[in-house]
């Protein structure tokens, strides 16, 4: 049985010298019982002892060896008694150059400026990457126009199914609930003015033109955008993208383009689907709250909401789909082979996609401000 580590000061009579006696198991296990006390004792022993005795040392590992080594100031004391195996430990430490920490050079006063510059440059590089991705996609489309047999139909259709068809239940549920909420809230205000029937105008314009596309974009960015980033990211980590490139298959053509095409196709359809369900939810709530007949709602809707609003909603769907897919693929291809980078890029992808979508939405709102709204 090993005795736990200990250190003892002995005064050698007559010679006026202090002898430090180190004994027991100076191993991680032996030291862990009473580490802080031993460290303090070791420090005071190192300050006063002129000779060391390690003959009763039962076991030594790198933790114990480094603790002693450090207490001695990274060299063997002049007077020391120990066996060969222990000596070998300290010789090894000396050979490996275990020494005090080098003082890091002081930070340059320009460091904050340099960090800022680094960020700006990194952002610039990202823009270059986006431009490269767009250019490559354009080249791919040109290539496909000349070689239609290379069109990745299977991948595109798989992506339409995953990002479009499978998103239908959740977009419908969210759309329905938002329609109900919007209808209830507006009905309370409108009935104050006796303007009940204008609920059709508010819900029609609001949902078809604005809320439907935006809701779908947020849901798809969270649902499919993150999946796309993670998929491309993991493919980077596992070198699958390199394997594709080695087979002479373009990663943009086979991986990016199908995703972009799928979202561009599926998003306007999802927008129409979600807007329809949301209007239905609003209609039901109006019936309950305002006692507004559903037949009246359906008959009034085409009169007060010009059909151009439907096109604006669908075009928004196309634009948002393009933004989400491109953002997702851009960040997916930026993933470096480690888990941290995968997590960071997936998060950034979703946040950037939603931000860009809202940015684009406001641009479209300004550009189409005179279109499709009855005065």
């Amino acid at each position: 049985m090993l005795v736990s580590a200990s250190i003892q000061m002995l005064n050698v009579p007559g010679e006026g010298e202090a002898l430090a006696k180190v004994a027991g198991a100076w191993t991680l296990a032996g030291l862990s019982a009473d580490m802080p006390r031993l460290l303090a004792e070791l420090r005071s022993a190192a300050a006063s002892a002129s000779a060391w005795n390690l003959d009763d040392l039962q076991a030594l590992d790198s933790v114990g060896a480094i603790m002693l080594w450090r207490a001695w100031g990274y060299h063997l004391p002049a007077q020391i008694s120990m066996d060969g195996a222990t000596r070998a430990w300290f010789e090894r430490l000396e050979r490996y150059g275990v020494g005090p920490r080098a003082v890091p050079p002081p930070e340059s006063p320009l460091a904050p400026l340099m960090r800022l510059g680094g960020r700006v440059l990194a952002f610039g590089r990202q823009l270059v990457d986006v431009a490269w991705l767009l250019g490559q996609l354009a080249l791919d489309v040109l290539h496909l126009a000349r070689h239609p047999s290379d069109i990745p139909f299977a991948e595109t259709s798989a992506n339409v199914y995953k990002a479009g068809v499978q998103a239908m239940p959740v977009t419908a549920l969210v759309g329905f609930l938002i329609g109900v909420v919007l209808s209830y809230l507006s009905a309370l205000q409108l009935s104050n003015f006796g303007a009940d029937q204008y609920i059709v105008n508010i819900l029609g314009i609001g949902i078809v033109r604005e809320l439907g596309p935006l809701l779908v974009a947020v849901l798809v960015a969270g649902r499919s955008g993150s999946a796309m980033t993670a998929q491309l990211g993991v493919m980077r980590v596992t070198e699958e993208i390199d394997a594709l490139a080695a087979m002479g298959i373009s990663r943009t053509l086979r991986l990016v383009l199908p995703k972009v095409a799928a979202l561009v196709l599926a998003m306007p359809l999802l927008v129409v689907w979600t807007s329809t369900v949301a209007l239905f939810g609003g209609m039901l709530a109006a019936q309950v709250q305002l006692d507004l007949d559903m037949g009246f709602f359906v008959a009034t809707l085409p009169r007060v909401v010009p059909s151009v609003n439907l096109y604006i909603g669908a075009v928004k769907g196309v634009v948002f789909g393009l933004i989400i897919a491109l953002t997702a693929c851009h960040f997916g291809l930026r993933v470096r082979p480690n888990t941290e980078s995968l997590a960071a890029n997936t998060t950034t992808s979703v946040v950037a996609a939603i931000t860009l979508v809202i940015f684009a939405d406001s641009l479209i709102a300004i550009a189409t401000r005179g279109v499709g709204i009855l005065r």
Partner: protein, 252 residues
């Protein structure tokens, strides 16, 4: 000195409807370097995983240092797990950490050592596996295959284990690097007095490193002895395994 570090009794493992181990017994004494050999799919890695508690046997018992791995007391279970280090086949380095942080991670988890001591320990472990301090800030993705194994070995050694388990330590290394790695493990075994259990397919690694060989075949440990004893046994699997280019040169 005949204390058993590893003691497996009557181990039965059923995976995917097939028996992998049936009535497997294994004893490994302190200070031995045991090679676990067997054909592909014979359950070597499964056995190794059961030794470290990553897999559970259908029946039978596994004891390390005389204690069962599955302990109801989480503190005791953790203390037992700190007594062995594992080198996974592909290194299993934490990809989000640098080399330095990978090795420092288990030390920090102890919540016992101060950061200065950890720094010196990490540099010592790096030197032990013959890496330079300049390798410390590298990320695992920037390392070559041989360096990944060395860093993983340094991490396995971080908490001064008494038992070192290596899964295919030289797989994927070229002969030069694999010989260097074997030399390194052997040196560490001599310096630190470790007990080493390793799984291998490579006869050169086996001959250079193992003091004893355990042959896993027919769902049990078919034979367990020194290399010289094993190669003279008359069994079809052993004949086939050791036949091609066998270098009958013991480890001593």
């Amino acid at each position: 000195m005949s204390e058993s570090v590893v003691r497996v009794r009557d181990l039965h493992t059923r995976l995917g409807g097939a028996w992998i181990h049936r009535g497997l017994d294994l004893d490994i004494a302190r200070g031995e370097v045991v090679a676990l050999v067997g054909g592909s799919g014979s359950g070597k890695t499964t056995l190794l995983r059961e030794l470290i508690g990553l897999g559970t046997a259908s029946r039978g018992s596994v004891e390390l240092f005389g204690q069962p791995l599955a302990s109801p007391d989480p503190i005791a279970a953790r203390a037992l797990r700190r007594r062995f280090g594992v080198l996974f086949q592909h290194g299993a380095l934490f990809s989000a950490f640098s080399v330095y942080d990978n090795i420092a991670f288990p030390m920090r988890e102890l919540q016992l050592l101060d950061e200065d001591l950890i720094r010196e320990l990490v540099l010592l472990k790096l030197a032990m596996v013959e890496l330079q301090p300049r390798h410390a800030p590298l990320m695992p993705a920037e390392l070559s295959g041989g360096m990944v194994k060395r860093v993983a070995l340094a991490r396995a050694l971080a908490l001064e284990p008494e038992l070192l388990l290596l899964d295919e330590p030289t797989a994927g290394l070229d002969p030069d690097r694999s010989a260097a790695f074997v030399h390194l493990v052997k040196l560490l075994h001599e310096q630190l007095g470790l007990t080493v259990v390793f799984v291998t397919h490579d006869l050169d690694t086996l001959a250079a490193l193992a003091t004893r060989v355990a042959v896993l075949a027919e769902k049990r440990i078919l034979a367990h002895g020194s290399l010289d004893e094993i190669v003279t046994m008359d069994h079809p699997f052993i004949r086939n395994f050791f036949a091609p280019g066998m270098r009958v040169r013991g480890p001593h």
